[in-house]
Symmetry: C2
Subunit: 584 residues, 2 copies
C-alpha cells in the first residue's frame, strides 16, 4: 500500500498515529539539526520532519531528494511546534521513520508553484507539469464539477443524454468540416460534426422529447484568440415547447449553476430584443454589469456647422461617471484606443462636465455652453462626469462605441469577475444580407423559425423578419444560443427559396432531414451552450484555453505532443490519397 492518507488529510486528531504518505517533494529545508520536506499531492501539502536522531541511512537518502521527486514516507503524526494556519494540515507534521524514493525527477523547466516562472509556451509544451500547479488543476476540477451539476440538473428534468456520432457526413455547406478518409470505403470520407444539430432534431422526430449531451464539436477554421479546433458544447433540444419553455428551462440551469458553483443568487434574467441591445449597447452581447448606455444625440448636435457630425449617419454618446478629471494624456489614450485599426473610429469628441457647472469639450468652437448643456442633459451627465462621443456610419460607430464603453468599464473597475449579470437577447433577425453574394443568409441556421407575427413580411421585406432565436449572454460573453425550429414543410420551403436555394439544391443539401420531417415531426426548439466558455467565465478566466486540459494553440497545434504531424506515405496509400502541397 502506497499510502494510508493523502497529503491533505492529517489533522491534530491524528496525533501519535502511524501514517504513510506518498507524493511529490515540493521543498526541502535542511536546518542542520532537522530537515523538513513539504510533501505535495492533489489534496494538499503535509510537512515531513527528519529529526537529528534519525539513522544516517535516512538522512543521506533525504539529502538526495530534489524538487518533484516522488517519494513514500512512513512515520508518526505529531503536533508541530510552529503551526502554519494557512493550510488545513498546518497543525501537524509527520515524524519520518522511513522514506522510499518511488521515482526521481530531473529539474522541471519551471517552478511548480501557484505563480509559476514559466512562460506560456514552455508551460504548454510541458502541460503535464503545468497541470501539477494548483490553480491550473483547480480549473479542471471546476470544469468537471460544473459538468456534473449540469448533468444532475438536466437528468432531473427528464432529459436523456444521448451520444450522437462523431463520424458523420460532410455537407456542401461544410466548408469548415474536418474530414476523415475511410479505409473500408475507399475514396469516401466522414466529417467531424460542427454540432450535432441534425441528430438532435432527428431525436425529436424520434420522440425523445428532451435530449442533451455534453459533446465535442469540431471546426477547421482560422483560430481567433479564443477558439479551438475542438470544443465542447452543452447541446439540448426539447419537443412540444415554445421559446419561453427553453428560456425558462435554461435560465433555471444557469441559476442553479451560479448558486451551486459560485454561491451567487441572480434575479430573473432580463430579456432584451436584439434591436434594443444594439441601440443601448451597440452589441448583441452587452455586458450589463454596468450602465453607461448609448445616447443617440444626432438630432441634438446636428446643424452647428461641425461637418463631422453633420455628415454622420449616427452620433452616439456615453457618459463616464466621475471622469471629468481625466488628463490630456488619458483622453489621448482613449482617442488612440478608438483609432486602433480593429476599432476603426476616426476620432473621439469629449465633454468634461466641470464641477462648477461649466463644460469643456474638444469641439468648443462649434458649440456653446448652452448647446453642450443639452448633450449633457440627454446623457444624464452630472458635474464631474465625462461624455465621450463617436460618430460616423451607424453600424461601425455602434461597434466602436461598444468597445469604448467596455474599455471605460475596465478602467473604472465596473467589470468585476465575481459579479454575474445574465441576459437573454431575443428576437434576432431571421436573415442577414450578404453584400458579396447579394443574397440573404440565415443568421442562425435555415431551420430557425420566423416569428408568426412577421410572416407577412417574408415576401415583402424579409430583412425585417424576426426569428424565434435567442442568445444567453453573461457579462458580455455569448454563452449559448438557439432557436425554435421550423417543423412545417411548407414554411421550410419558403425559407429555402428566401435563402436562394432552388428546390433541387434544397433537396440535395437538406433532403435527408426534410425526409425525416415527413414522418410526423413534433414542434421543437433547442439551445447549445459553449461549455469551455461557460467554464472559463465561472473560473474568472479570460481564455477558454485555461479550462481545457490539453488545448491547442492559435495554429491548431498541440505543442506538447507535436500534432498535427506528417504521416507515413504507406498510411496515405492505404487510403488511396496523395499529398500535393503547393509551393508558395
Amino acid at each position: 500500500m502506497y499510502r494510508t492518507h493523502t497529503c491533505g488529510e492529517l489533522r491534530l486528531s491524528n496525533s501519535s498515529q502511524e501514517a504513510t504518505l506518498s507524493g511529490w517533494v515540493q521543498r526541502v529545508r535542511n536546518l542542520g539539526a532537522m530537515t523538513f520536506v513539504d510533501l505535495r499531492d492533489r489534496y494538499g501539502i503535509t510537512q515531513l520532519v527528519i529529526d537529528d536522531e534519525s539513522s544516517e541511512e535516512l538522512k543521506s537518502l533525504v539529502a538526495k531528494l530534489g524538487r518533484e521527486y516522488v517519494i513514500q514516507a512512513k512515520g508518526v503524526v505529531r503536533e508541530r511546534s510552529s503551526k502554519n494556519n494557512k493550510i488545513p494540515t498546518g497543525e501537524v507534521e509527520l515524524e519520518v521513520k522511513e522514506i522510499t524514493i518511488l521515482n526521481e525527477s530531473v529539474i522541471p523547466p519551471f517552478t511548480i508553484e501557484d505563480e509559476s516562472d514559466g512562460g506560456d509556451e514552455i508551460r504548454m509544451k510541458y502541460r503535464y507539469l503545468d497541470l501539477r500547479r494548483n490553480p491550473v488543476r483547480n480549473n479542471m476540477i471546476l470544469r468537471a464539477t460544473m459538468a456534473h451539476h449540469i448533468r444532475n440538473y438536466l437528468n432531473g428534468k427528464q432529459f436523456i443524454e444521448t451520444e450522437t456520432p462523431v463520424l458523420i457526413k460532410s455537407t456542401p455547406e461544410g466548408a469548415r468540416d474536418f474530414i476523415v478518409p475511410s479505409r473500408m470505403n475507399q475514396g469516401e470520407f466522414y466529417a467531424l460534426p460542427q454540432s450535432p444539430q441534425v441528430f438532435k432534431q432527428l431525436l425529436m422526430v424520434a420522440g425523445f422529447d428532451r435530449y442533451y449531451q455534453i459533446v465535442k464539436c469540431f471546426r477547421d477554421e482560422d483560430l481567433r484568440a479564443d477558439r479551438q479546433p475542438e470544443f465542447t458544447q452543452i447541446d439540448c433540444e426539447m419537443s412540444f415547447v415554445e421559446q419561453d419553455d427553453i428560456l425558462n428551462t435554461f435560465e433555471g440551469l444557469t441559476r442553479y449553476l451560479l448558486k451551486e458553483m459560485k454561491n451567487v443568487e441572480v434575479d430573473e434574467f432580463p430579456r432584451m430584443p436584439y434591436s434594443e441591445a444594439i441601440e443601448r449597447y451597440g452589441s448583441d452581447k452587452p455586458d450589463i454589469r454596468f450602465g453607461m448606455e448609448f445616447n443617440d444625440i444626432s438630432e441634438t448636435v446636428k446643424g452647428n456647422n461641425f461637418k463631422v457630425f453633420d455628415d454622420a449617419e449616427y452620433i452616439g454618446a456615453i457618459c463616464a461617471e466621475g471622469c471629468a478629471t481625466y488628463t490630456r494624456k488619458q483622453l489621448d489614450g482613449l482617442t488612440n484606443f478608438v483609432k486602433k485599426p480593429q476599432i476603426g473610429a476616426k476620432g473621439l469628441v469629449y465633454v468634461k462636465c466641470n464641477e462648477d457647472g461649466s463644460f469643456k469639450s474638444s469641439v468648443d468652437k462649434f458649440y456653446s455652453q448652452e448647446d453642450i448643456k443639452k448633450w449633457a442633459d440627454q446623457c444624464d451627465a452630472k458635474a464631474g462626469d465625462l461624455i465621450l462621443v463617436l460618430s460616423g456610419d451607424k453600424g461601425h460607430t455602434q461597434n466602436a462605441l461598444c468597445e469604448l464603453r467596455l474599455e471605460m468599464g475596465n478602467q473604472l473597475g465596473l467589470r468585476d469577475k465575481n459579479v454575474f449579470k445574465p441576459l437573454w437577447v431575443v428576437d434576432f433577425p431571421l436573415l442577414e444580407w450578404d453584400e458579396d453574394a447579394k443574397r440573404f443568409h440565415a443568421m442562425h441556421h435555415p431551420f430557425t423559425s420566423p416569428k408568426a407575427e412577421d410572416y407577412h413580411l417574408l415576401e415583402t421585406d424579409p430583412g425585417k423578419v424576426r426569428a424565434n432565436a435567442y442568445d444567453l449572454v453573461i457579462n458580455g460573453v455569448e454563452i449559448g444560443g438557439g432557436s425554435v425550429r421550423i417543423f412545417d414543410s411548407e414554411l421550410q420551403s419558403t425559407m429555402f427559396s428566401l435563402l436562394g436555394f432552388t428546390k433541387e439544391q434544397a433537396e440535395y443539401q437538406f433532403g435527408f432531414l426534410m425526409n425525416a420531417f415527413k414522418y410526423g415531426a413534433p414542434p421543437h426548439a433547442g439551445i447549445a451552450f459553449g461549455f469551455d466558455r461557460l467554464a472559463s467565465l465561472f473560473a474568472g478566466l479570460d481564455s477558454i484555453r485555461d479550462v481545457i486540459a490539453f488545448p491547442k494553440n492559435n495554429s491548431g497545434r498541440d505543442v506538447m505532443i507535436d500534432s498535427p504531424s506528417i504521416i507515413a506515405t504507406e498510411q496515405l496509400d492505404e487510403l488511396s490519397l496523395k499529398l500535393e502541397v503547393k509551393e508558395d
Copy 2:
C-alpha cells in the same frame, strides 16, 4: 402551450380536470358512435375519445388522422367505462373538445410497435422511426441512466472527469488510426484516438491522482459482428495504487451498477489467473454462469490404439448433465457444430451415461465399459449425463471445446440473461509470441508492468512472465481490462528491448511519454470498460448496436445519413490532397 400533461401522466385523480395533450397517433378506432384515438409520447399512451355528440368539424378532422400524425388534443379527463389495467393511464380517457393537427405523417415504412414488422436494414435506414419504438428508446434511456450512475459513483470517489483531445497525433503503431488532414497545417494530419491511454498516463504525471472519462474512441478496422468504428469507453486511471486497489474500486462500481440498474446483488467477484481460466474453460473470458468445466482426460484415454487420441496433444471432455437422452440427430448437430470452419474441430467423441450404469460411446470399439467408466469418473458424470470429447493440438482444441461448452449452455438454458456472474481474470501473460514476425508483442501494451516475482524470467524465459494485467468478464463477455503501468524508466528500457525495439525506435515511438516520465511519474494503474458492451449486457442484448442511437453497419456505413460519402474536389484541394483510387 402545447400540453398540460404528458401522455403517461393522467390518472383517475385527474378526473373532471381539463387537460391538453400532444403526441403521435398510435391507433384510431372508429366504433361508429364514438372514435378512440391512442395518443402516444415518450412517457406513455392516453386514450382520447371523440363522442357522437362532438361537432361535425371535430369528427371530420378525426376522420383525417393517420398513424404517426402529430396532434394536440384538449378536453376533459374522465373515468373509462372499460378499463385497461396494462397501462398506468388505463383507468382514464380524455373526452376531446378540440384537436389540432400539428404535423401530418406519410405512412411509415414499418409499424411503430414494440414488435415491429421492419427488417434490420429498413429500420437502420429510418433509425429515427426505429427509435420511436419503446424497446429501442428504452435501451437508450438505460444507457443514459447507466452513464449517470457511473459518474455519480466515480465522482463520489474523487475521480476527476477530464476531457482529453480527440484530435491527437498519429503514431507509427497506429495502423488502425483514423487520420484527419489539417487545413491550417498543410500536409500534416491529426489522428483520432484509439484510446486516451497516453493522456490519462500524463494526467497521472500531472498529479490528478484519479481520472475518468466516458469517451468516444475510434478504430479504423475491419468490423466484426460486434464492433463499431466509433465506440465509447469508461476510461480510468489512478495513482499510488496497486492491482488490488483497481480491482476493488471497479468491482465496487460494477456491484453498484448491478444493484442500481438491475437490483441484483452479487458476491465478491472471483479472481482467476489467466492460466486457470484457459485450463478450466478454454477461454480468457469464461462464462461462469454454469459449470461444465473442462477435464483433461489425455492420460486416461491414451494407449488404446485409438489413433486420434493417441496422436493428440490435448484431449478435453465436458459433461452435459442429463443429456444422455440426446438423439442421433442432436448428436450429429453437435458434431456439425464443432466441425464448422470457424470452430474447426475434426470430429466429436461422445459418451452417453445410461440410466442402467452402462455407457454408450462413439468409440466403443476402442474402449471397454471399464475404460469409459474412468472417463466418467474423471468428469464426475452421473447416470443420465452426456460426455463430449474433443482432441487435437492444445490451443485449437481448447478453443473448440469452449465453443461447444457455450453451445451446450445455450441448449440447456444455463445462460440466463437475468443472471450476472462477474469474474476478474488476472495474471495475463506479459508477452505474446508473434510467429510471423518472430518476436514478442506486448499482450496488453508496452507500458504494462511485469509481476515482480517474475522479473527473473524476463531475460531467461520472457514468454513465462506474467503481467499485472487484468480483465473484468461478465457472463463470458469481456467488459474491461487494464494494467498496472511501468513507471520506472530502467524497467521500461528492458521492456522495449524485449519487444525488439532499438533505443532509437523506442525513443521515436514513445519518447514523448518517456520524457514526461522523467519529471516524477507516480506509480499508477488503470482500466477501461467498453461502455457499449456493458450497456448491451445490462439491456440483455446480443449486439452493441442496439444500445447506440445512430450506429454504423458492418462496413462502417451509416445507412441513414449515407456516410461516408464522396466529397468535392475543392475540399480535397484545400487540404492539398488528391484521390487515387486504384482500379481492381
